[in-house]
Symmetry: D2
Subunit: 110 residues, 4 copies
């Protein structure tokens, strides 16, 4: 993750893109990338989505890469570590969805 964040800083600096990378804009761009990921799944059944064709899987992998890049970049602009934030949120979720109450129910993960 640290390598990704450093490379993203260099990538933006070389292209003079910090001016566009406000958290507001990066959150929008993240949202657009997630939709490009979603697009691959919109007409598939759930079962089909569990067994993607190799070509689709390759495209989905690229979109997951894009989403991770924008998320890391947005977090970095706000001084946040995405992995630490994730681990802390998982602890919150653990308390929010106790095993005995959440078992087998389609409630939100987070």
């Amino acid at each position: 993750m640290e390598e990704i964040i450093k490379k993203l800083r260099k990538f933006a600096a070389e292209r003079d893109w910090d001016q566009f990378h406000s958290p507001k804009n990066l959150a929008m761009a993240l949202s657009v990338e997630v939709a490009e990921l979603l697009e691959h799944f919109q007409w598939l059944t759930e079962a089909e989505s569990r067994e993607l064709a190799p070509e689709t899987l390759g495209k989905v992998r690229e979109e997951i890469g894009d989403v991770q890049l924008y998320l890391a970049r947005l977090a970095d602009q706000l001084g946040i570590s995405p992995l630490e934030a994730a681990l802390e949120k998982l602890e919150i979720n653990r308390k929010k969805y106790p095993v005995d109450k959440a078992r087998g129910k389609a409630t939100k993960l987070t």
Copy 2:
């Protein structure tokens, strides 16, 4: 990241949630979490988004955590490493947006 993925597997298994965690559903949930992040920025100016109040920053941090959790979980269900996918995509982007052509232009990062 490996710790997050292992904990998410345990989290879902304990709650019998694998049945709901098809890639299709997880991509939808990821999209919903990104919108909860976006919500904090929708009425802010770009300048305001660069200087969030501590309380807002705390909430944004939680949402970034959620987005990272769902992204990791989705990637894991597809056998993809999100960090490797990100590094590979960054190389693709580097070629797609050469410094001399992309400099100072508000084109897409990815």
Copy 3:
């Protein structure tokens, strides 16, 4: 639709909200409202989504109302009629997806 648009103009003017209603911000808000709609469907099977419980249907109806409001407001700020734009786009889609080629295939509607 004209009634909606006029009421939205009055609604925003009374609250001095035109300053926040740039097309950029309204597009973000539209995206957030659509995610609130999506949230109701994320863990349902497709079959379940075709037979919503009355309470869920009521909430979904409110979210559809919100999405329509933001879409109308965004279109109005850009001088666009959403219904005319829809009818024209439907003609484009008709040519893009000829019946003989598109029949029974899960391609995009638009």
Copy 4:
């Protein structure tokens, strides 16, 4: 709106697409279309978004058309009138955001 809804029914029936048009899938597709709209605004300043170039405006108009089409189609599959739902939600919002409290504050429209 009635014309749009009737044409969409015919459009889907001719292509045998009702099988794909579960509310769950249509909500996903709506979300993808909104992101295609959002994409045009992500790197613009708010001021720029108020004065789009004619070419961009034309593309934005098409995306607004697509969003309206999917929204109408989704609502129809659920037996909901999007315009009635919007008018009713506007009344709810009027009470939720009384003029004296909401004036000049960047709270949510809905």
